[in-house]
């Protein structure tokens, strides 16, 4: 398999010129992966057209990312391309409203056992659909308040979850559950959201709510890593680990159904958050500017009934009554833990992903984009660390907390929320080692 990384941090005309210049060098790519940063969003058409012109027969996939890392630099501007010349890579895509259906169709299409799947974990639709969702939130919350029993409340939340799934959220654990083999998930949720974000690209066209799967045959190795200590053997043990790790932890009672949380300690999630921290309300204007904060250092951590692993859900002061979750909460304890996020050990915690690096293999990796607001320019230390380990070219992308599925997980990851399935709202990463 031969691979080539091309990147340019420029914008507009200069970006296209740079890419044209780089593409002059002969390289027969039959698969192209495009990673476009938010700053280059206005140039997406020009870049896609250039690729189509240069490689009309190639298969193409891509998505928007927060930043990318190459051997030379880490940029949150411009684009990065990964050109692949191999018959061992296949690309498939599906779209639809029902998560199970969409991902099981994707699974049937891709035959390879090693997969990298890109999908919008949270898609912020256009203005009309956002308004519809906000109205439906009020409608279902009124029903929720009137419900006589907890079971009835949960049923209403499940009903509302179906609305959220059809318009905006593909819950990460539900999505990955449908895919067979070893799967690395590029779950897209921008750090700052706006209308019709994030974007994906497939076969030289921009699409918004579709799921793309790369099947890779051959001797490919996928490594997963999280920055947390190992999980406990019971709810109490895991809770104790979390308390020790985060320093401050508060136990709370939640009422949730599928991907919707109705109550935390008898209040709405936003009311609960506002009692604890001083936070600015997210307004409609923020959506227009594309600056709705999608990350938060404050969150609810839910412990899995199946593995006693856990996943964190970040909390923000959104104008909603029923708070949406990015993973299905059905298999989690209702007694959640309110924590504020810290990474003990700082940025060096992320180095461990590269411990198993093979000196002579190309690597592609995805890092949790939360580390951008956390560590900012210190991210260059990761690049320096990788450069000290390998002389090969590589490409890394920063996207929201990558996920992983495998039948052969040896470590007791805290983020393993279902047997063989790892996902967490922060601190995760994966690396794909590509053979020659």
């Amino acid at each position: 398999m031969s691979l080539k990384v091309i990147a340019s941090p420029n914008l507009g005309r200069k970006l296209v010129e740079d890419l044209k210049g780089e593409l002059e060098e002969r390289f027969d790519a039959n698969v192209i992966l495009l990673f476009l940063t938010n700053s280059a969003k206005n140039d997406s058409k020009r870049v896609v057209n250039l690729l189509k012109e240069k490689f009309p027969e190639a298969k193409m996939a891509g998505c928007t990312v927060e930043a990318y890392m190459t051997r030379e630099a880490v940029w949150s501007r411009g684009v990065a391309l990964l050109l692949i010349d191999s018959s061992k890579v296949e690309i498939a895509h599906t779209s639809g409203k029902n998560t199970e259906n969409v991902f099981s169709r994707l699974n049937k299409t891709v035959k390879a056992r090693k997969k990298v799947v890109m999908f919008p974990l949270v898609y912020i639709p256009n203005r009309i659909n956002v308004a519809k969702l906000l109205t439906l939130d009020r409608f279902y919350y009124r029903k929720f308040r009137k419900a006589n029993s907890v079971e009835e409340k949960k049923e209403i939340l499940r009903e509302y979850s179906r609305v959220l799934e059809s318009k905006s959220i593909y819950p990460a654990n539900v999505a990955l559950r449908q895919l067979e083999g070893e799967v690395a998930g590029v779950n897209l949720m921008p750090l700052s959201g706006g209308f019709r974000t994030p974007s994906l690209f497939v076969n030289f066209k921009e699409c918004h709510r579709c799921c793309i799967c790369l099947g890779i045959r051959g001797n490919v190795r996928i490594h997963y890593h999280d920055v947390f200590p190992e999980r406990g053997k019971s709810y109490e043990e895991t809770a104790e680990i979390l308390k020790e790790y985060f320093g401050k932890a508060e136990f709370v009672e939640t009422v949730s159904g599928r991907i919707a949380i109705g109550e935390v300690n008898g209040k709405t999630v936003v009311e609960f958050l506002k009692e604890r921290i001083h936070t600015r309300d997210v307004e409609e204007n923020d959506l227009e500017k594309g600056s709705v904060p999608m990350v938060s250092p404050y969150g609810l951590t839910f412990v899995s009934k199946e593995t006693y692993g856990c996943s964190m859900l970040g909390l923000q002061s959104y104008p909603v009554n029923i708070y949406p979750s990015i993973f299905n909460l059905e298999n989690f304890y209702e007694k959640a833990i309110y924590t504020s996020e810290i990474f003990r050990g700082g940025i060096s915690n992320f180095y461990n992903l590269f411990d198993r690096i093979n000196m002579d293999k190309f690597i592609f990796f995805a890092l949790d984009s939360n580390i951008i607001p956390m560590f900012s320019k210190k991210i260059h230390l990761i690049r320096a660390h990788i450069n000290s380990l390998t002389d090969e070219d590589y490409l890394g992308i920063f996207t929201s907390f990558p996920s992983y599925k495998s039948t052969n997980i040896k470590r007791k990851y805290l983020t393993e929320i279902e047997r063989g399935l790892c996902f967490n709202g922060t601190g995760t990463s994966f690396m794909v080692e590509v053979p020659d």
Partner: protein
């Protein structure tokens, strides 16, 4: 050399969100400057910058500061030490929080590249 500097600075210089990209010598002489917004507001800021720059540079070098930043309403002036004789000045709209972190991450690339260019000369 100027061509190489302009090539290194182009990710900022070509970005409409960056109002001014400039590289100053320690004595306050601009070596490279690209102004993306021609308005009285930016002109005033540039005048102010000229009068302040020697002072700020003195602090950057003698007090071993790596960076100085000033914020005026919604405009931010960032000064980064590139080498013992050069300072990178970027004037940007004060943006929402994640953009600022990304901006610092990107600026680090440029500072490193400029540093290497100056060192090898």
């Amino acid at each position: 050399m100027l061509l190489e500097i302009s090539e290194i600075l182009s990710p900022f210089a070509e970005d409409p969100a960056v109002k001014v990209t400039a590289l100053y010598r320690i004595d306050g002489t601009p070596i490279f400057a690209k102004v993306n917004e021609r308005s009285g507001r930016i002109l005033n800021l540039l005048y102010w910058l000229e009068s302040q720059i020697k002072n700020s540079l003195y602090y950057i070098f003698t007090k071993q500061l790596n960076e100085v930043s000033f914020t005026y309403c919604d405009t931010e002036i960032r000064m980064f030490a590139v080498s013992k004789t050069l300072v990178l000045v970027l004037v940007v709209e004060a943006e929402e929080f994640t953009s600022r972190y990304k901006f610092d991450m990107d600026a680090e690339n440029v500072i490193k590249m400029l540093g290497e260019l100056v060192e090898c000369r």
